[in-house]
Every structure is written in structure tokens, then in C-alpha cells.
């Protein structure tokens, strides 16, 4: 059976990270499995953890009155779920729900915040990784907002 440190090494989020940092982070991590339909996080709850998705699909949702849950985005193998643990007030912004059985590595945000405060190099490394993820998600959201698959507005026939 692989150690948590080995699983962290394999996950794309930690690709290229120094081994000593992986060992430090592994001290704050455990394996966790969510069954299909189970909530990983609920909007406004305390965000004390975040999750590396090893396999499975997670939907990021919000609920609308008279409509129910609206799925904003899905995450899958190799993705990371949650960054609310990084910033005050440390509360989840959206719901996160397991669409399938989801194997994760659950990381304790409070434990990591303490280690990052003690070792700012670790904090910087981790923050760079989260900044990259946030940038990718922002770009993807902008693409979603563009409605790129909609009809061209110039009303002229072109090749499809």
C-alpha cells in the first residue's frame, strides 16, 4: 500500500515539490472516500479541509430557490477541491458533492496554515500552486461566460 507521501508525489498538484515539503504536508493528510451523492462541503460551513481528487467526479454547486442545485463546474481525477481554507473567514463558498464514488486525499487546512506560517518558503510554494489553479479556473470560467458555442452575431453564413 502506498504511503500518503507517495500519493501526494503522484498527484499533479504537487508535481515537482521538494520531498521535505511533501513529508511535511503528508503529516496533515489522510485518505478519504466519499460515496456517490455525499456532500464534501456545504456552503457557509467552516472550510477546515481541502481535497486532492485521486479519482471520481465532484460537482461544485449552488442552490437557487424554486430551481434546486445548479452545477457550476465539475472536478475530476487530478483536480483539487477547495481553497476557502486559505483565506478568512475560512468558509466554503459553494457546495461540493460527490457525483460518483470519489477517492481523495483530505488535507487539514488548519494544520497546513500553521506549517506555512512557520516556513514561509513552503507557504510561497503552496500559494504559487493555488494561484495557478485559480488562474486556470478563472480562464475556464471566462470561456464558459463567452457562450462560444452560441450563434454568431453577424448573422452571416459561414462554414460550420
Amino acid at each position: 500500500m502506498k504511503t500518503i507521501a507517495a500519493l501526494l508525489h503522484e498527484h499533479p498538484f504537487f508535481a515537482g515539490m521538494k520531498d521535505e515539503y511533501i513529508q511535511l504536508i503528508a503529516g496533515c493528510a489522510v485518505n478519504h472516500i466519499f460515496n456517490q451523492g455525499e456532500y464534501i462541503a456545504k456552503e457557509s460551513d467552516a472550510a477546515d479541509y481541502f481535497y486532492l481528487i485521486r479519482n471520481g467526479r465532484v460537482s461544485i454547486e449552488t442552490s437557487q430557490p424554486n430551481y434546486g442545485a445548479v452545477i457550476l463546474q465539475t472536478l475530476q481525477d487530478g483536480d483539487i477541491c477547495g481553497w476557502s481554507w486559505l483565506f478568512p473567514p475560512h468558509c466554503w463558498t459553494f457546495d461540493a458533492k460527490a457525483q460518483t464514488k470519489v477517492h481523495t486525499i483530505k488535507l487539514d487546512g488548519r494544520c497546513l496554515r500553521g506549517k506555512c506560517a512557520d516556513d514561509t518558503q513552503l507557504g510561497f510554494d503552496l500559494m504559487q500552486r493555488f494561484a495557478r489553479i485559480m488562474t486556470e479556473r478563472l480562464q475556464a470560467t471566462r470561456l464558459q461566460l463567452l457562450n462560444i458555442y452560441g450563434r454568431p452575431e453577424n448573422n452571416k453564413d459561414q462554414e460550420i
Binding site: 457550476l72 481525477d77 487530478g78 483536480d79 470561456l143 450563434r151 453564413d157 459561414q158 462554414e159 460550420i160
Partner: protein
Amino acid sequence: MIPDIFYVKRRTEEYPGTFTLHIKKKDDQPQTSFQPGQFNMLYAFGAGEVPISMSGAPHSTSVYIHTIRTVGLTTQALERLREGDQLGVRGPFGRGWPVEKTTGKTIVIIAGGLGLAPLRPLIYHLLSKNRDATDIHIFYGAKSQPEMLYSDELKNWAQQLTLQTSVDMATPGWQGNVGAVTSLLTTAKIDPENTIAFICGPEVMMRFAIQELIKKNLPRTSIYLSMERNMKCATGHCGHCQWGPTFICKDGPVFCYEEIHDWFHRTEV
């Protein structure tokens, strides 16, 4: 340059505003076979002519299949055609997907919206070669589930190859991926030495898809895309579809990214 007369053998509605015509030559004469990625000029009498990609099985000499979205006057006229109605056809034209380069390679197909239509003949070709399902990866993005093309075929393809779909907007009951199709690529495992990628969709989607592939070290020579511009004559004479030093109708619509990357990102070209 003179259109042949065809008639509509069958018409299907994909979703409101997008339909598929199965057309056959008048008197049921055999038609010219085509290469995946080529297109025909469809002439709606009294309205005009539009370039539309082939979306049926290549080497089929019984019918041509075209999936069309109504945008302007000509496509609106094509939409009004019903079974038995006639239209003019010139083609097939253009340079298609380089199917000969797929042998022994892992294939990544990235389609957005209506961009699945020009890729479908390529998928048919690959399926006819009895390739291993794990060798063919299709990433298909659409606005929402009701606006996905060929929904029945997508279910079949999911059994025969590796298919991942994503929608920008989840409708009630949708249990698949939500997000830009390029998000699926960020975590995809791609062997840059042994992969060839084919992309078709809105240009902005293709730019982001290429960025993801380049990040995974896929060489520019292994990336192919199908471009769209205002094609009129389809033979490289009128100049309407000039793009940099190329004519899309004659030198494309399929290009290797290595050939066009110098001007692909220039908005003024």
C-alpha cells in the same frame, strides 16, 4: 464549377436551429467519395451557396451528410428544405484530416459545439480500423446537453472509445462534466511522443485547446485544426477566404498548427 443537382433523402433535427441533411444525387447516381475534413458547397436555389463540412461516413457513395446551423439567409433556405426537395452541390473540396498519420498513434480529438460535425467522418474512419478503444480519446464540449450533436451516437462511441463530454451550462438531470472543454485537457495524460491531436470548434476554444496541448509538450507538428472563414468559390480563385498566405478553401480547411502558428494568433489576419 457547375453544381450537381441533389435531393434531400432524409432530414433530421439535431436541436432547434441545427439540422442534418442526408442528400443524394438526382437519379441516384453514385457520388464521389471524400476525405474526412473536406466540405461541399451547398446551393439553396434563389438564396445562395454556403460551404458545409462533410459529416457522414467517408467513402460512402450513397449519400452525403451535412449538419447545418441556421445563421444567415442561405442556411435558413436550406433549413426549409424537406425530403424530396432539390439543392445544388459542388464538391468535395479542400484538404482533410491527415488520416494516414494516425497509424500507430494515440489520437486526441477535441470538438466544440458544431465542430463535432467535421470530425465525425474521421471518427467513423478510425472506428472502421478496429483501433483499441484506449487509443482514441474524444473531448467534446457543448453549451448544454440539449445542444449536443448526435446524442445517440455519443452513447455508442462511449462504448467503443474514450469519450469525455462537458457542458458550459448544466441543465436539470445532467450528471456529466460542467466547464469549458479545455478543462478536461488539463488533467488528461498525453504522451507527446506518440499522440496526434485533431481540433475543431470555435476559434477561441481551439486557441485554448492548443495552449493546453503545448503545455503537455505536444509538438506543433502533431496538432491539426479545421478553420472556418467566408469561402465563396471553394477553388482558391476569388480570394474571400485568404488567411495569411493561404486560402482556406484550397489549402485547408484542415491545417497543421506548425504551418499556421505564425498568424493563427493574429486577430488582424
